[in-house]
Assembly symmetry: D2
């Protein structure tokens, strides 16, 4: 049985390169030969043991690759096609999916709902930091890459572009909106791009790392606030003539950014939350108008499925958003441990790392 | 100058009967002679000093009455008409109103938004627990009462029916939804009625006062959980085959009910919050799927304006909802202090008190 | 190879009882032994040759039955379960399905969209007027029937209840709406029930057959207009104080009803169309405010999938809607030709016919 | 009594320069001294007698000017401010306005709804092709112009930018949508800009006038089809891999473009109609999937009100859309008849004409 290299979670603090047999696709699966993948902030949560996964699991959920073998029941694709699959791979047939909540896919459960159940790669099944990847429910999840787009051009589609845009979409941004985005890491930068793409005309971002502040303007920010130099809530009030923003997007997962987001809203405004939190959150009474402000707080898990991927690639193809500058580093799969070290410590201005087997 | 009796806020713990001159309507106002009004839970917050208002303010925001005099610019109405006005009296012309956020009306502010700004009666201007009431922006706010409806039949429209229904509406309840409503006071009971009216088929309410539990079934509950006898979150899981509810409505304004509501949701579910909170809220990390559950938390302040009132009265007229059983007691305006005492201490199975000058 | 009785389309004007081999389920299919089914108005279109299907096709798309055999890849169900499947059986995995347009399922097409593609039974694959039925994409489509509901209680769920409710849902009916429903055949009656279920408080229906007018009130109509006795557009104006209805539902598929529906709307109103038309439609300029009336015209094809079926059955179980009175006649599958004759000629006050193999 | 120059409708075929007294503002009005205005396609309909208005009415509904005098009840503005007002001037207080249908404002009617009732300037009251203009319900309608924007930069906000964007908004365009826009006159060009602003990534426009085809690309078109050289429906199919567009925007008001728009949709797609039609429309049966395609047809009348204007000016200020190239000609008010002649005959590549008193 042929072997492949994989990056596995061993224990808190250790993700290492290892070997596993190349798997054989079941009737509804596809086997993909990975050509490019990357590391996500969530993988760092896994590395640190903050987000628990099974020991020995292959990590990674952002695959670009070539169809190596299709399951017996899979139609509509052919071996040799270059494809991506989303970080979230819905079955399409569970109750949650039929209700449009593909990320909460509960296939396999009694009633068809599972919190975060659509996130399988590198969470509940082997992931993409490997030479080969098994894609479940391939008919719902394989998205052919247009010939004129490179691997790196589409590398952000499986997760951060989908997640970042979801922050804008769940916020229901409208033409002429003022929008604040808190934190300008990879997800926050894509949220900024999404806000611009939906017609926001006053996009205010909050960050303090100089490279990220610069990239923020490149992705669409009209104003960038360095929260180490000014109070972001006061600044946002000032930049919106005292009104506050229509939509605030939280893109870090901390109490501080959540609270800033809430306080920066106009009455009736929406807080769209993308961050993965690691402790309880507090809603301050005054920031919430005691429950009478007609406010909305909405959270989003990265939308997946082949059509979402097609749409995101069409955004890239249209040149309306260019995510290539987000790839600041490149490593071989063999160097994955080194890549985790760099990315985990956010050294050297790293945003995203392209990993090639 | 003729005088009228009014119930005014004197200081924390004291709302008393007093006298004021009968006011004269400005060009856009209408003067209403009150025929019936009532006391709201929010008035008790005011009485206790938990919600601050100016000393000497006339309290009350639920008016039924007769148009006594119209302002010089008011058209479309005639003196002698029996009308109601909502607890919330939007101007219609502020930025917030033009955006559809009538309850956050910012008329008079620089930018047109004011948190809770639509709530004026008994909050920022004199209210309805009086012999006469000045209705601002009368053209947007006077709603004629159909002849075949009594004062008591429409007495719940200005606030609790509008608020309760808003809990169902903001939750975007759909046909076949499972819905949980936490607390079955007057607002919660109307939320239950609203959930039924929108097509929920599995309505589970949580309460412990026997009279309210009974009334809950009358208003539409399919199941009533006594939280003193069973854990409501576990019970709700059981009653939804493990799935959780699509929409949970909080109708009390406490951490406990907020948290139960959050924990009772299915993935992707919506918490629709109606309560007036008096302290910071905590969102438990696990109940929030660490921010990845595609959940929505939405708050609503009582929708107002004449069309909202017309629609609510049409619900009453259609006999689809009957709020008359909610009126458990009747007092004269002269007895208002006694009425506050009874209502504030929730004695004698009180739900709502009809007050007549 | 075992045989089964089936009703097949032979040629325009002829649907006859015949025999076919009992099919074997593929990996994603389920074989159902039909216990009850019915005839739909669409089947009459097929019979008359107005809606073309392949000669020899088994007709029918409203199955109630017992799982006889599951395909090799089907999980989550067990043989012997009593189930229904919707008239529309989406794959869940096509682009259309991933976008939430399950009825326009394009599985098998290049790009994943197919007009009416979700309607397969008795249209593009063999249908339910038979002793056995093959359900495609079983995991997305089998819906277990609660033990306490009879076959006849759930018989309307696969099509007419789902379609009728969709008329109300696509019209986005809100609490307090005025709604007109044009034609009170089985679909229109279910639209009336759906309008009531969503909170309409002034439901006006238009019909002329006495039995249907009577049933209309039973299903929720507040007013029933006999269009042979009064002009329905004028009557609707009168019954809405000159305003027109918020939502008009067309449930026949004719120019006359479409035009009445359009003319009965208030400015900004929505025409929700359910009918299957058989000729071009005309939009009169004046009824359309020359294109400046902020109007919406929306069409709906019966929503399907297991979760839709579960929700509809929960409506039935909750007793909020009772469709049993719609079953006016009962026939054996052996008598299917007789049943078509009765139903096609709308004799004897027929609404729906229960067919049992 | 001081006089002012005005352009009035005399009879079919004649709009002439005349004089009227400068009006005095009522309590809720504002008197504006016009600094720039323009002619709309609708004015040509009026000129030709296709859209009837009262003889002697001052024409025009796109005002930029200076507040000369405020009505006695108007607060929040000051004389001397430079402002615009929308073509549509809602009262904010009618039932239609309270329901969010500001363009169907029925102030003055019994029930508060009036088809197109929000369009007052140059339709039911004197318009903006004059030296002075009376703005009704000034508090809802005056929008101060930021100092750094010129009259010409904001001249398109009152009508064509608002209308064009409404085409995109009513179509509910989403990130990654394919959109077709039929006709690239001023409204169609703004619809194209709106589609891009909302995140469409494949915008296909249909036109044949070379200058407009060129401008179309400038406003955001990815592909421009010359309908004199190729069948637009076939081309759109080809450019969308056979799928059809998600949203088609009609921007002319003819059967041909309406029908093309319908035929270019994917199943479940939305036709967003902006054109002012002058005859009945036909919906071809096949293009409509016999009523089973889950399609939506929606019409929009130019949204107005001060907040809409503020948002549109913020789009202009953000440089996301530049409408200056649309101003192809400039005339004095004295030359208004000449301007109508040029504009009415679409000579000399005219798109929009700036008129200055």
């Amino acid at each position: 049985m042929a072997k492949m290299k994989v990056a596995i979670f061993v224990e808190s603090g250790r993700i290492v390169l290892d070997e596993k047999p190349i798997p054989d696709p079941g009737p509804l699966d596809a086997l993909i030969r990975i050509t490019t993948t990357t590391i996500c902030g969530t993988d760092i949560h896994i590395l640190k043991g903050e987000y628990p996964v099974a020991k020995g699991l292959t990590i990674g959920h952002e695959p670009v690759g070539i169809i190596e073998k299709l399951g017996s029941q899979v139609t509509g694709f052919r071996e040799g096609q270059r494809v991506i699959a989303g970080a979230i791979t819905p079955s399409g047939t569970s109750t949650a999916c039929l209700c449009g909540y593909h990320s909460q896919d509960g296939s396999g459960t009694e009633h068809g709902w599972q919190a975060m159940g659509g996130w399988k790669f590198g969470n509940t099944i082997d992931g993409s930091q490997a030479e080969y990847l098994l894609v479940p429910d391939a008919m719902a999840n394989l998205a052919p890459v247009p010939d004129d787009l490179t691997d790196e051009q589409v590398l952000m589609c499986p997760d951060i572009l989908s997640t970042g845009f979801a922050g804008a979409e769940s916020g229901r941004i409208r033409i002429g909106d003022s929008v604040a985005v808190f934190a300008q890491g990879p997800i926050g930068l894509c949220a900024t791009a999404g806000a611009k793409l939906m017609g926001a005309t006053n996009i205010i971002t909050v960050e303090s790392v100089p490279e990220r502040m610069k990239m923020s303007r490149q992705m669409g920010a009209d104003q960038v606030i360095d929260f180490k130099k000014a109070d972001p809530v006061e600044e946002i009030r000032r930049l919106t003539d005292g009104r506050g923003v229509d939509v605030a997007i939280e893109a870090l997962g901390r109490q501080q950014t959540f609270e800033w987001a809430l306080r920066s809203l106009r009455p009736g405004g929406t807080l769209s939350s993308l961050g993965v939190y690691s402790s309880d959150l507090k809603i301050p009474l005054d920031a919430f108008s005691a429950g009478l402000g007609d406010n909305t707080i909405v959270t989003s898990l990265c939308p997946g499925g082949k059509e979402r991927m097609r749409r995101l690639m069409s955004v890239v193809a249209s040149s309306r958003v260019d995510t290539r500058p987000l790839v600041t580093h490149r490593f071989k799969l063999d160097q994955i441990e080194e890549a985790y070290d760099l990315f985990g410590h956010q050294r050297d201005g790293v945003l995203k790392i392209a990993i090639t087997p």
